[in-house]
Symmetry: C2
Subunit: 498 residues, 2 copies
C-alpha cells in the first residue's frame, strides 16, 4: 500500500464513520423528540448494528496498514492529512486494546444501565442501580489499564475526555477553586438575596418559543443551518458545520431556564457552525474536546449571557415578548436575579458560582471509585457528605442526589471535570479577549459578532486541526485557574456588594 492508497483508505473510512455517526445521531434525535413512546426496540436493534459496523471499520486490518504507511511518511503529509492520521490512529489504538467481546459486552451493559438508571432515578433507589454501576466501574478500571497501563487508572480515563489532563492538575485546580470560592459563597450567604420572584411568573411556552427565535438571532445562529427543538434535557447535536440542532425545555414558571439553555446550547452550536469546511466528513470534524466545547457554551451562557451589558442590551426587546410579566422589572433587577447565588442540590440548575462545587463532588467520587478507594455501595453516603461539606445542603434522596446525572449510566467516568475546566478556560479567554479588543461596548449594544469572531479565530475554526492542548494554549495561554477565581470574585463582589 503506497501513500496515496493509504490516504484513500483513510478518506473512505472517515466518510463511513461520518455516515454511521449521522445515522446514529438521527435515530437518537428521533427517539428523544418525536418518536412514539413504546418504539425504542427497533432503534435499539439499529443502533446495535451501527455500533458493530463502526467497530468493524475501526478494527479493519486495512485501516491499520494504511495508518502504519502514513506514520512512515509523516513528513510528506499536509497538516490536514497528518492530523487525521494521528487522531484516527490514536482512536484505533485505544479501541483495539479492548478485546472485541469486552467491547460488545460493555455496549450492551451501557444500553441496559441507561434503562436501569432511568427507573432507579424515578424510584429514587440507588440499590436498584448499584449492580450496574459496579459492573460499569469494573469495566472502566479494566479499560483504563488497556488504554495506558503506566498511568493511574483514573488518569488514563481523564486522558480520553480531555487529552493531557490528569489528577495532579485537577487536584490543584479544584483546591484553588475550593480555597477561593467556598469563602466567597459563605460571604454571599450573609448578604440579602435579590428578589427573583418575577422570573417565576407565568411565561407561556408559545411566547418563550418566539423569545428563543430572538435569542438565536442575537447569537447569529442561521436558522437555515441550525434548528431548535424541545427535549426533557437540552442538548446540542451536530451533523456537519452546516447542520446543527439545539434543543431546549420550556418551563412556564421559570423564564430563565430555557433562556440560558438556549444561550448555552447556542454556544455549542456557534462552535460547530464556525468550524472550517476543510475538516468536514473527517475525524477532525466537530469540537476538539469536551472541555473546550463546554468552555464555549459556558462562555456564551455565563460570561456573556449573564453579564450586565448583555442583559441591558436585550432586556428592552425581552420585555416586548413578555410585557405583562416583565413590565415592572428593570434590566438591573433582571441581571441581579439571573445571578442569584444559592447552594442547591441539582447540578444542571446550579448558578454560575456554585456550579463547580457540584462538579467537584463528582470528581472526588469518580477518582475514588476508579482508584479503588471507594466502594460503589458507599457512593450515596459519600455524595451526601460531600454536598454537605462543599455546598452546605442536605440531600433528601438519591433522585436529587447521586442518581441525578446520566453520565455514569452511559459509562462516562472522567467527563465531569471537563465542565469545570471549560468554565476556567472561558475566564482565561475573556482575559485575553479584553486585551485584544473592546469586549463590552459591542456586547452592550447586543452585538456579539466581535466576540464570536475572536472565538472563531482562536478556537472554533480549527475543529480537530489542533490538539485540545494547542487550542487551550492558543486561546488561553498557560492554564491558570486564578483567571477564573478572579473573574468570579470580581463579578460576585460587585453583585453582592461584598
Amino acid at each position: 500500500m503506497d501513500k496515496n492508497e493509504a490516504l484513500a483508505v483513510l478518506a473512505d473510512v472517515q466518510r463511513k464513520l461520518f455516515a454511521f455517526n449521522a445515522a446514529s445521531s438521527s435515530l437518537y434525535l428521533d427517539g428523544v423528540t418525536v418518536a412514539p413512546k413504546d418504539t425504542s426496540e427497533g432503534r435499539g436493534v439499529a443502533q446495535g448494528v451501527l455500533a458493530g459496523e463502526q467497530h468493524k471499520l475501526m478494527t479493519d486490518p486495512a485501516l491499520a496498514e494504511a495508518l502504519a504507511v502514513l506514520e512512515g511518511c509523516r513528513d510528506e503529509l499536509t497538516l490536514l492529512q497528518r492530523r487525521q492520521a494521528e487522531e484516527l490512529g490514536r482512536a484505533v489504538k485505544q479501541l483495539t486494546r479492548i478485546p472485541a467481546e469486552e467491547y460488545m459486552e460493555y455496549a450492551m451493559l451501557t444500553n441496559e444501565a441507561s434503562d436501569v438508571w432511568h427507573r432507579a432515578k424515578e424510584a429514587s433507589g440507588f440499590e436498584m442501580f448499584r449492580p450496574c454501576l459496579e459492573k460499569l466501574v469494573a469495566f472502566n478500571r479494566k479499560f483504563a489499564g488497556y488504554y495506558d497501563p503506566d498511568k493511574a487508572p483514573y488518569d488514563a480515563l481523564l486522558d480520553e475526555y480531555e487529552r493531557g489532563v490528569d489528577m495532579a492538575q485537577l487536584d490543584g485546580f479544584f483546591a484553588a477553586l475550593r480555597e477561593k470560592l467556598v469563602p466567597l459563597i459563605r460571604a454571599i450567604g450573609e448578604k440579602p438575596q435579590p428578589d427573583d420572584s418575577f422570573l417565576h411568573r407565568h411565561y407561556p411556552a408559545e411566547a418563550q418559543r418566539r423569545f428563543s427565535d430572538y435569542l438565536m438571532e442575537v447569537l447569529d445562529l442561521d436558522r437555515t443551518h441550525c434548528g431548535i427543538g424541545e427535549t426533557e434535557h437540552p442538548f446540542t447535536l451536530e451533523f456537519t458545520n452546516k447542520d446543527v440542532r439545539i434543543t431546549t425545555n420550556y418551563k412556564e414558571d421559570d423564564v430563565s431556564s430555557s433562556m440560558y439553555s438556549v444561550i448555552h446550547e447556542g454556544g455549542h452550536a456557534r462552535y460547530e457552525l464556525d468550524i472550517t469546511d476543510d475538516v468536514q466528513y473527517t475525524c477532525l470534524a466537530g469540537g476538539v474536546s469536551m472541555g473546550v466545547h463546554e468552555s464555549q457554551s459556558r462562555f456564551y451562557e455565563n460570561i456573556i449571557g449573564r453579564s450586565r451589558p448583555f442583559v441591558e442590551a436585550i432586556f428592552p426587546k425581552m420585555k416586548e415578548f413578555f410585557p405583562e410579566q416583565l413590565g415592572d422589572v428593570t434590566a438591573e433587577q433582571f441581571w441581579r436575579a439571573v445571578n442569584k447565588v444559592e447552594p442547591s442540590l441539582i447540578r444542571t440548575e446550579a448558578d454560575e458560582l456554585t456550579y463547580c462545587l457540584h462538579v467537584m463532588v463528582r470528581y472526588e467520587i469518580e477518582k475514588a471509585l476508579i482508584s479503588g478507594t471507594l466502594e460503589v455501595k458507599d457512593v450515596p453516603e459519600t455524595w451526601n457528605r460531600l454536598y454537605k461539606e462543599y455546598l452546605g445542603v442536605d440531600v433528601p434522596d438519591d433522585r436529587r442526589g447521586c442518581l441525578q446525572d446520566s453520565h455514569w449510566s452511559g459509562g462516562s467516568f472522567g467527563y465531569f471535570p471537563s465542565y469545570a475546566l471549560g468554565s476556567a478556560y472561558g475566564a482565561q479567554m475573556l482575559r485575553n479577549m479584553e486585551k485584544d479588543m473592546d469586549v463590552w461596548g459591542p456586547v452592550g449594544r447586543g452585538d456579539l459578532s466581535q466576540v464570536t469572531a475572536w472565538l472563531t479565530e482562536k478556537v472554533h475554526k480549527f475543529g480537530g486541526l489542533k490538539t485540545p492542548a494547542q487550542i487551550v494554549e492558543n486561546a488561553c495561554g498557560v492554564f491558570d485557574p486564578t483567571a477564573y477565581t478572579d473573574y468570579l470574585t470580581k463579578k460576585y463582589t460587585e453583585i453582592y456588594g461584598l
Copy 2:
C-alpha cells in the same frame, strides 16, 4: 457452507439491512420534518454511504453462496425461511445487475433532486427541475435494462413496484376505467353540485390536530406505537410493526384535506401495525407491494371513510371539535360534500371518482418517458394537454401541473399505477367482505374493528410471507376491474341521482 450456516448468514444480512434502512428512514424523516432548510448536504453524504453499504451487503459473495445453499434445500425450509430466501434472492439478483458506482451515484442524485424539486415547485419553474429529471429518467431507463433486458423498459420498472403487472394489463385496465368513468363523470357534470362551502370555513390547525387524534382513535391506531407529524405531503413511514409514523398537512380553509389524509395514511399504518411479529427485522417485514398498500389506504379513506354510514357515525363527534363551523351542517350534507365530483388540478386533492384519471395522465407520461418516445423537456406541454383531454381542465402553472408530485424526484417511475390498481383491489375486497359479514352495521356505529380484522386476516398479517399476487388472490380472487367500476357507478348514481 451448510444449511444452518446459510441461515445464519441470511439472518445477519437481514438484521443489517433493517438497521441501514431504519437509519436511512430516520435521516429522511428528519429531512422532511424538523431539519433546517439548508442542511441536505450532510444527509446526502450519509444516505450515499448507507446505500453503498446496503449494496455491498446485498452483493456479498457470502450471501450469494448462502442463497444458493438454501435454494438447494428448499424443501427442508420453513415457510418463513423459504420466503426470506426467495425475496432476498430476487432482490440480490436485481441489484447485482446494477453496477455499484451507478447505484451510489443514483442515491446521491435522488437526494439532490428532492431538494431541487422542492425549490422548482415553489418557484413553479419546470426548467429548474428539468436537468435532474433528465438524469433520473436516464438512470431508470438504464436500470430497467439491467432488471430485465427482455422486457420493455417500463414493464421492467412496473414489475419492481407491482410484481407481475405490465403495460398490457394496465392499458386494458385504464381503458376499462376510461370507458366507464368518463361518461359517468360527464353525466355528473350535468347535475347540480352539492353545497360544500362549509368545508372551507376557517378550521384552526390546533382544532384539526385534536380532531386527528380522534380519527386515529377511530382507526384504533395505538399512539404509543404510531406517531403523527406534519409535512407538506402526507406519508407513512414504518420502522417496525411497533413503530409507524404518519404525517398530515393542515389546511385551515379545508377541513376535509387533513381529515382524509389522516384516514388514508392511517390505512397504511393499520396495515404495517397488523403485520405478524414473525417477519420483523427480515426482508419480509412491511407491506407486500405498493399496490396492496394503496388498496388498504384507499379502502379506509374512500370505501369506508367517505361512506354514508361512516360519516353518519363520526359526524356528531366531529361537530364537537368544530361547533361553530359545522353547527348548521347535517351528516348527509357533509357526506355529499366530501363526495363531490369535480375535475381538478391536484391529484392528492382529487375526489374518489376523478382520481384515476390523474393517475392515468402520469401513467401515459411515464410510459412515454421510459420508452423514449417523450423527451423530458416536453413533459409540461404533454401534462397540460392530457389534463385537458382526460379531465377537461386548464393547467395554469407547473406548480399545479407536472411539478405537483414528489415521486419522480425520488426516482420512482412505475409507482403511480399502483394507486389506481390499489383502488380496484379495494373494491374487490369490499365485494368479498360483504359476502363474509355485515360490513356497514358496525361501521355505522363507528366501529371499524371487524373491517380491520377481515383485512388483517386476508391481507395485513402476512407481510411478505405471501407474494403480492397471492395476497391479491387471497383477498380479491381473480383481478376484475368491473368490481371497481361497478362500485363507483353505484355510489355516484345514488349520490347524484343519475
